[in-house]
Symmetry: C2
Subunit: 409 residues, 2 copies
Amino acid sequence: MALIVQKYGGTSVGTPERIGLVADKVAGWRKKGNDVVVVVSAMSGETDRLLSLADAVAGVPPPRELDVLLATGEQVTIALLSMALEMRGIPARSYTGSQVHIRTDSAHNKARIREIEDKRIHADLADGRVVVVAGFQGADEYGNITTLGRGGSDTTAVALAAALKADECQIYTDVDGVYTTDPRVVPEARRLDRITFEEMLEMASLGSRVLQIRSVSFAGRYNVPLRVLSTFEEGEGTLITYEDETMEQALISGIAFNRDEAKLTIMGVPDKPGVAHQLLGPIAEANIEVDMIIQNVAPDGATTDFTFTVHRNDYKKGLAILEKTARAMGAREVSGDDKIVKISLVGVGMRSHAGIASTMFEALAKEGVNIRMISTSEIKVSVVVDEKYLELGVRTLHDTFKLEQPEVI
Amino acid sequence: MALIVQKYGGTSVGTPERIGLVADKVAGWRKKGNDVVVVVSAMSGETDRLLSLADAVAGVPPPRELDVLLATGEQVTIALLSMALEMRGIPARSYTGSQVHIRTDSAHNKARIREIEDKRIHADLADGRVVVVAGFQGADEYGNITTLGRGGSDTTAVALAAALKADECQIYTDVDGVYTTDPRVVPEARRLDRITFEEMLEMASLGSRVLQIRSVSFAGRYNVPLRVLSTFEEGEGTLITYEDETMEQALISGIAFNRDEAKLTIMGVPDKPGVAHQLLGPIAEANIEVDMIIQNVAPDGATTDFTFTVHRNDYKKGLAILEKTARAMGAREVSGDDKIVKISLVGVGMRSHAGIASTMFEALAKEGVNIRMISTSEIKVSVVVDEKYLELGVRTLHDTFKLEQPEVI
């Protein structure tokens, strides 16, 4: 018998029929003798319906009241799922975020969880009940309703799993696990049985939209075993583990990519201390997030070249700011390109294997894919290439590292 | 400057546009320097939408979860109204029933308010905010969400007015006040400027659907001045007062009627102590509510005849139970009629004026309206007549007592 926290997203509970299917699934786990806590999102479409009401009433709604409004979405789902469970003879009880004291800070619309009281939930579990908790929401120390921002139900599930010391946190979604890369780009992409937290973090932050990055990092911090499964298909999904648990790691776990990149370059900047701050300070002040940063000394030895990537939506704004900075600093030239993408190899196996990067560069070169930028971390090698090479690049790498073949463990 | 509690029902907040109109109205009261607490219902149609979701998921939903579901209806409205107020430059803050500690018993779907914490609301008012509270809901001592049953928002408003010691509790609805009788039956029916609580109670319980009877009795108990007004028209509405406040009362305030009546009669019951209980016990056990009860000694002096009225929906069930009881008690005969209505004259002035009843009976007799039952209280005379005489009877009495003419005070 295990204590399992399950999370079902908006699509999984989008209609009364689907709520019935989820109830069947939960009932199955319960009947096998597990203690089950279920976290649910608002029914798909509900949040948009509420937002359009707010828009009709107020245009830009005050954040506190927006949270009061949006929190009703999950409250509807917890009630309906509990009803469906009870109808199946499974005792169940629903709780809003504030009822189980999911205490957050007061940052409305993007609150962070501070603590969770586990007593009430443990008491219900001990009484043989399934506990159904509203995801995405909590209450601050004054009892004001807060929300964690869109997709925050994953975070609720992980935080609950951590607080309750659950054996596993299962995230049900409309994909059946984490793949070596996007199957729409590489049809041979393979579902991973397991992936480490660090790899998952890199995959998530690089645009693999299976899990919210916040929930993954949360799970890692509290050592919560996380599993991604499909609501609509049977299967084991992908287990997100801690590195030490497996004896040997696959070299590469997967290939992530991100289409929303743009790069900005400033050349001939006088090379002296503080230059990076002078360049990036105004960018940060404009709330533009910077991803890769590369600095090289120029051939003349006295100036430096500086390139960084930003989200494509911020490209024009970033370029304008950089041009202003360049004039002020007496830099030679500013240029940019918003038709680029980032492709990344991710794998904890890289740590102990040299030569991954050069194999990668060689494979791309052979196909004529020109590399514009390179950035590496302990478990990742990222390259920036022209947009038109995205599919070719990803397929080439998937093939080169034989990711379609099952891992040998 | 006064402290006013206002309540707007589902029709008044049925669309974003109407919520805007309500916000304008509230803003007007606020700008005149009043402290305003607003209680709102779910947007019209919302409760039915939620109920149909519950129906699709679970058929007969568990009461606790039904409350969790239905409570979202008002939560949506409080958020939207607060947004609309803030957009108009009126600082506002929304609260669910549990947030302002509207503490109820644990009778889900029909809970009763036990106490209300007024501190938080007073603090907001002192800070210059309009406080918007979800009607119809509260939380029990364990924090479970409860609802007061349909229409319970009136009760919330009155309870808040009592707890906050408000100067006036204004119930906004789609009628512009309390009338001498239903204007659809008597076009000359006149809006009353004021009516006493006792009269209002009789009017409400007799089928005048302006206010929930529970909220009126609640208001009377806590001496909360209650005013009924229209959301959509300007006007003073009807003030519901305490008798002592006015120097002289009108003889008759109004004529109430109830179309949902049926009567049951048992004849020739042996006349001995305990007979009423023997007859009505089984009726009460079947959850049938009994309204008028009349007992007469039969001509033979040894037996008694017994007649009572029930809701028309309970007629067949009541008749079957009574026939069984009759056999057990050796009564002579059981009969019934479900084509009857009740018409009542209501007025505190009756107390000090004799002859009202006989004037009433005379007027009806003159029009050929046969009276089947009579029942009187201190401020009311009710008659049961055949259904077909309803309109004729009400119009005759309205005319006889000159209710179309303004009261002389």
